[in-house]
C-alpha cells in the first residue's frame, strides 16, 4: 500500500497546475514528477553505533519540449503557483536552448497509463523500531567479533523508500512506491604481514527489513563462516599469475555483467550522449544484430519486472510501462536499453522503459533495467563447473572493479579466489585479479550453470550523467565457466 504521507500531498493539483501552464505556453510535451526519497544509514564499528542518519528528499520538477527543445526546472515548494512557475521556467530554458539544438526532440508514442504500484516487500525498514534496527546490526557484529583472528568488525546498512508521482500532457498519471535494502558485514585481521578483510557477499535487494531476518538471505549463517574465510585468506599463498580457467559465482559475476554488458548496451552511450563523462560503447548502433558479444551460451535480458529487482518498477520516469526484452541472444547483440527520445530517433517504435531520475531535481536519463544472464536449461551445478577445470580459480564475491570508457578493458578482484586443481577446490589464494577485453571474456564463456546456481545480485550506487545521478540496479546470473582468462597478482603489480 502506498504511503499515505506521500499520497496525502496535493499531487494531482500540482501536476494540473504545471501541465496547464506548460500547455498554455505552447509546450508540445510536458511531464511532472513529484518524488520523495527516504534514505536511512546505520554504521556499526566494533559493535558500537558509529554513524546513523535518516535523509528525506522531496521535490517537484517539470520537463517540457517546446519548439523541439528540452527545458527542465525543479524546485521544492509544493504549491500550485510554484508548480506553474516551474513550468514557465522550463519553457524559458527550452527557448534559450533552441538555437543550440539543430535536431528537434521527438518522443516515441506510449499508451496512456493510470494506476498505482508497490514493490514486493514485507516490512518497511522505516517502520522497524530504532533499537531493533541497531540491535540487529550489533548482533551480527558481535557474532563476527567472537571469531578467532577477527580484530575489527564493521556493519553498514542502508535502506530506501522511494515514492514517485508522474503525470504528463498525454494523460498518464501514476504513483509508485519502492523499498530496498543493503547490508554488508566485514571482518578485519591485522597481522605482521599487514591487514586483510573479508566481507559478506549478500546482495542488495528490493525487499524490506525481512532481508536481514532470514527471508531471501541467511546473514547469520554467512557471518558464522566469515572468520574462517578470513583466516584462510590470511594464510593463503599469492596467486600465480597467468591465463587460467575461471569459475565465477554470481556474487562476483553480477558486477562484470553490470560493467561490461549492461553499461555497454545503453543506447545513449552508443550514440555519444555520455561521451564526455560516463563514456561511449564499443557496441555501436551499426553492430546491432551482428556483434558477437560472447559465446553461444550467452543470453542476456533486460527487464523492469523481476520480483525484488532493484530496477523493477510499474512505469519508468517517462510513463512507459515496465517490460522485458532481449539484449544478447546466443552471443549476438540484439537489443539496447531505450528511452522515448532514442526509441523514436532510431526507429524502435516504442521505448522499452529505461528512463530514470534519482530525484525530482534531476532530469531522467536512459538508465539500466535489471540486466541478467540467463541460466542453462540443464541442471548444471557449481560442482559440475568446477569439475570441468584442471587448473583454475573459483571466484566468490565482488571487491575492486574498473573498466574503460568504451567498456572494453576491465579488471576485477573478489572476496575469495579458490584454487581449482583437477576439478576440486584446493584452498584460497590471495592478491588475485582478472583482466580481460569484454568480447574476449564473454567469448570464452564455455558453460553456464542451471537455475540452482542463479542469484539476483546488484548495486545501490550505479553512477551516470551530469549532474551525477545514482541508480540501484539488479543483475541475475548463474555460476559460469570461462576458459583462459588473464589473472594478475596484484602484489606483484604494485611491487617494485
Amino acid at each position: 500500500m502506498l504511503d499515505e504521507t506521500f499520497t496525502g500531498l496535493p499531487l494531482a493539483a500540482l501536476a494540473d497546475a504545471a501541465l496547464s501552464r506548460a500547455r498554455e505556453l505552447g509546450a508540445s510535451h510536458a511531464d511532472v514528477r513529484i518524488e520523495r526519497h527516504l534514505t536511512g544509514r546505520r554504521d556499526v564499528r566494533d559493535s558500537r553505533l558509529e554513524s546513523s542518519s535518516d535523509d528525506t528528499d522531496l521535490g517537484i520538477s517539470v520537463r517540457v519540449v517546446h519548439d523541439g527543445s528540452w527545458g527542465f526546472a525543479a524546485g521544492i515548494t509544493l504549491t500550485t503557483q510554484a508548480a506553474a512557475d516551474l513550468a514557465a521556467q522550463a519553457v524559458l530554458i527550452a527557448k534559450v536552448s533552441a538555437p543550440l539544438n539543430p535536431r528537434p526532440v521527438e518522443l516515441a508514442p506510449e499508451p496512456v497509463h493510470t494506476g498505482e504500484w508497490v514493490s514486493s516487500y514485507t516490512t518497511n525498514p522505516f517502520d522497524v523500531p530504532e533499537s531493533d534496527r541497531v540491535g540487529r546490526l550489533v548482533q551480527l557484529s558481535d557474532a563476527l567479533k567472537r571469531q578467532s583472528g577477527v580484530e575489527h568488525t564493521s556493519v553498514a546498512c542502508m535502506y530506501v523508500q522511494e515514492n514517485k508521482f508522474f503525470a504528463n500532457l498525454e494523460g498518464t498519471q501514476t504513483s509508485q512506491q519502492r523499498v530496498r535494502i543493503q547490508a554488508d558485514v566485514e571482518a578485519v585481521a591485522v597481522t605482521d604481514d599487514g591487514f586483510f578483510t573479508m566481507r559478506t557477499v549478500a546482495p542488495p535487494v528490493g525487499r524490506g527489513w525481512e532481508h536481514l531476518t532470514g527471508e531471501g538471505w541467511d546473514y547469520d549463517a554467512e557471518v558464522a563462516e566469515l572468520g574462517t574465510h578470513l583466516a584462510e585468506l590470511v594464510a593463503a599463498p599469492g596467486v600465480e599469475p597467468g591465463r587460467k580457467d575461471l569459475v565465477i559465482s554470481p556474487t562476483n559475476l553480477w558486477l562484470t555483467i553490470h560493467e561490461s554488458v549492461a553499461h555497454g548496451t545503453e543506447l545513449d552511450r552508443a550514440l555519444g550522449y555520455e561521451a564526455a563523462y560516463a563514456g561511449t560503447s564499443f557496441a555501436t548502433f551499426d553492430k546491432l544484430g551482428s556483434l558477437a558479444y560472447g559465446s553461444p551460451v550467452m543470453n542476456v535480458t533486460g527487464d523492469r519486472v523481476t520480483e525484488h529487482g532493484l530496477s523493477t518498477v510499474g512505469w519508468d520516469d517517462e510513463g512507459v510501462a515496465a517490460q522485458s526484452f532481449d539484449i544478447i541472444r546466443e552471443g549476438t547483440l540484439v537489443g539496447y536499453q531505450l528511452n522515448r527520445q532514442m526509441a523514436q530517433e532510431k526507429g524502435f517504435g516504442r521505448s522499452n522503459g529505461c528512463a530514470f531520475a534519482d530525484s525530482a531535481g534531476h532530469i531522467p536519463l536512459q538508465r539500466m533495467p535489471n540486466v541478467s544472464l540467463r541460466a542453462s536449461s540443464e541442471p548444471t551445478t557449481v560442482d559440475d563447473l568446477i569439475g570441468a577445470v584442471d587448473d583454475g580459480l573459483y571466484v566468490v564475491g565482488d571487491k575492486s572493479w574498473s573498466i574503460d570508457m568504451q567498456r572494453y578493458n576491465f579488471q576485477f578482484t573478489g572476496q575469495r579466489f579458490y584454487r581449482i586443481k583437477n576439478g576440486r577446490l584446493a584452498g584460497q589464494v590471495k592478491d588475485a585479479a582478472y583482466q580481460a577485453t569484454t568480447t574476449d571474456f564473454w567469448g570464452s564463456m564455455e558453460a553456464v550453470g542451471g537455475a540452482s546456481t542463479w542469484l539476483l545480485h546488484g548495486a545501490f550506487n550505479c553512477g551516470k550523467g551530469q549532474p551525477g545521478q545514482v541508480a540501484a540496479v539488479s543483475h541475475g546470473a548463474p555460476t559460469a565457466l570461462f576458459r583462459q582468462v588473464n589473472v594478475l597478482n596484484t602484489d606483484q603489480e604494485g611491487g617494485r
Binding site: 544509514r41 536552448s97 539543430p102 523500531p129 551530469q466 596484484t490
Partner: protein, 462 residues
C-alpha cells in the same frame, strides 16, 4: 521570515543534551551537450536541513541525525522534534565530546546567495560559435558546464552561529574526430565563470585534437610519463581521502606504522620537496572556514565537531608525511594537540617546480604525456594500489615534441609510491580533476614526471 529565524525558533524548542542545525540553500544551473548540439539543461533549487540531536540514554549519549527539505519554519521545527525522538530511541554512539562553544559570524543573518542560468550565458554563446566551427572542421564537441551556489547556515544549542557561501563552477570540453578515436579534453574549475573564455578553451582542445592526427600504437610496460595537474589531482585526492588517522593506528591503511598504534607520520614519502595541504582561506579555492558534518564518517569526521574553526592543515611537508585526518575525540585520545587536522574540501600541492607542461615536454627525450585518468578504483588498501585507465589523449613525446597519439592503457599504481618515484614536479596551477569532479573541484596541483609509470595492459577503448 528568514532562515536564521527559523533556525533560532527551532533551537529554542529543542530539548535533550544538545542540538545542531545545518541548513543548505542551493541553486544550480547547467548546460550539457553532445555531437555539436545541446542535449539537456536546467535550473534547480533545493533547500534542506540536517539536524543532529543529542540525547542522554542509558550508557551514554545517543545521536539522531535527520535531513530533509525545508520550505517553512514548521518543517525545521518538525525535523528537530523527530531527530530528538530518534536520538532518544537510539543507543550510545562512539566517543561523544562536548559540542563546540559559542561563536557568531558577523554575516550569520544574511540571506542566501543564489545563482541562475544567466551565469552560463557567455558559455552558451561561445558554444554556438564552437559548434559552428566544429561542424566546419569536421569534429564533434561534447561536454558539460555547471554552476552551483550553496549558502550554509550552521547553528548549535551551545551558541554557534555560522554562515558560509560556496560558489563553484566546472566546464569540461571534449573534442573528438568523427570516428571517435582521436579525442581531447580540457577542463576548467571556476568560482563564477568570469575567468572562463570558451573560445580559448575550444582553441586548446582543438590544438590537442590536432596531436591525434598521427596515430601510433605502443605496448604495455613502464614508461617515463608526464602526468598533467588534472591527473595528479585525481591521485592526490585519493591519497587524501585515505588519510584516516584512526585506521592508520589500527593498522588498516597505507599510513599505518610498523606496529599497531603507530602511523607513518614523520616518514619521508618523497625525496622531492612535496607540500600537500588544505586551506579554507586559500583565495582561489575558498571553502567554509568551519567544520560542517551532517553525519559522522568513521574516523574522518564527527557531528560533534560541527562549527569548529578549521584552517590550513599541512598533510605532507617537504616530502614528509606531516598529519593524518582526525576527529576531536580521536585527536584527544591519540595525544594530539593544537589545531584539529580537519579535511577541508580543497587540496593544494606544490613541490617547488616552475616548469610548465610545455617545458616538461620540451625536456623529455622519449615518454608519454597523459590527459586524464579514469575509473580509478582501489585494488590493495595496504599499499593504496589503484587501478584505472588513461583517457582522452595519451601522447608520445620524442625529442621534446609531441609526435602523435597512442592507444589507451590500464595502469596499476599507488599514489603514495608515485610520490617516492617522481623525478620532477612542475608549476602548480588551479585545475579541475576528471575522475572525482562530481565531488571535489577545488585543487591546485603541479604536473608530475614519473620515470617508470606502470601501464599494465593496452585498452582498446578510445
Amino acid at each position: 521570515m528568514s532562515v536564521t529565524t527559523w533556525i533560532d525558533e527551532a533551537l529554542a524548542g529543542a530539548s535533550g543534551h544538545g542540538t545542531v542545525v545545518i541548513v543548505h540553500d542551493s541553486t544550480q544551473a547547467n548546460l550539457r551537450w553532445a555531437n555539436n548540439a545541446l542535449t539537456t539543461n536546467g535550473q534547480m533549487h533545493a533547500r534542506s536541513a540536517s539536524v543532529i540531536a543529542l540525547a542522554d540514554v542509558e550508557g551514554g549519549i545517543a545521536t539522531g541525525c535527520l535531513s530533509g527539505p525545508v520550505t517553512q519554519a514548521s518543517d525545521l521545527a518538525d525535523l528537530v522534534r523527530r531527530a530528538s525522538e530518534l536520538a532518544s530511541a537510539s543507543v550510545p554512539g562512539e566517543d561523544p565530546v562536548d559540542l563546540v562553544g559559542a561563536v557568531v559570524d558577523a554575516d550569520y543573518t544574511a540571506g542566501p546567495e543564489p545563482t541562475s542560468i544567466e551565469v552560463l550565458a557567455d558559455v552558451a554563446s561561445g558554444l554556438g560559435r564552437a559548434f559552428d566551427a566544429a561542424r566546419a572542421a569536421d569534429h564533434l564537441l561534447f561536454g558539460f558546464a555547471e554552476h552551483v551556489a550553496t549558502t550554509t547556515w550552521l547553528a548549535t544549542s551551545t551558541g554557534v552561529r555560522r554562515r558560509s557561501v560556496n560558489r563553484g563552477g566546472t566546464l569540461e570540453l571534449n573534442a573528438k574526430h568523427p570516428d571517435m578515436i582521436g579525442s581531447a579534453w580540457v577542463g576548467r574549475a571556476t568560482q563564477d565563470f568570469t575567468d572562463v573564455d570558451l573560445d580559448e578553451v575550444h582553441a586548446e582542445v582543438v590544438k590537442r585534437l590536432g596531436w591525434c592526427e598521427t596515430r601510433l600504437e605502443l605496448p604495455a610496460g613502464p614508461y617515463e610519463t608526464i602526468l598533467p595537474p588534472s591527473a595528479v589531482a585525481d591521485l592526490m585526492i585519493y591519497a587524501y581521502w585515505t588519510m584516516n588517522g584512526r585506521d592508520a593506528r589500527e593498522g588498516r591503511n597505507v599510513y599505518a606504522g610498523p606496529t599497531v598504534g603507530q602511523t607513518r607520520v614523520g616518514e619521508v614519502l618523497s625525496r622531492l620537496p612535496v607540500n600537500l595541504w588544505s586551506d579554507p582561506s586559500e583565495p582561489t579555492l575558498p571553502s567554509a572556514p568551519f567544520a560542517v558534518v551532517a553525519s559522522s564518517e568513521p574516523g574522518l569526521s564527527s557531528v560533534f565537531d560541527n562549527g569548529l574553526d578549521v584552517g590550513r592543515v599541512d598533510w605532507i611537508t617537504e616530502g614528509r608525511l606531516a598529519s593524518l585526518v582526525e576527529t576531536r575525540a580521536e585527536w584527544a585520545k591519540s595525544g594530539g594537540s593544537g589545531s584539529l587536522p580537519f579535511p577541508t574540501d580543497n587540496l593544494l600541492c606544490d613541490a617547488g617546480g616552475d616548469a610548465s607542461i610545455d617545458e616538461m615536454v620540451a625536456s623529455t627525450k622519449r615518454g608519454l604525456l597523459l590527459t586524464c585518468l579514469w575509473y580509478i578504483r582501489e585494488v590493495d588498501p595496504q599499499t593504496l594500489l589503484l587501478t584505472g585507465l588513461t583517457r582522452d589523449g595519451v601522447y608520445l613525446v620524442e625529442d621534446g615534441e609531441v609526435v602523435g597519439m597512442v592507444n589507451n592503457f590500464r595502469w596499476n599504481e599507488s599514489p603514495v609510491d608515485l610520490l617516492r618515484r617522481a623525478s620532477e614536479f612542475g608549476r602548480s596551477e588551479v585545475v579541475l580533476c576528471r575522475e572525482w569532479n562530481d565531488w571535489f573541484t577545488k585543487t591546485r596541483m603541479p604536473p608530475m614526471r614519473v620515470p617508470d609509470f606502470a601501464m599494465s595492459t593496452v585498452s582498446l577503448a578510445y
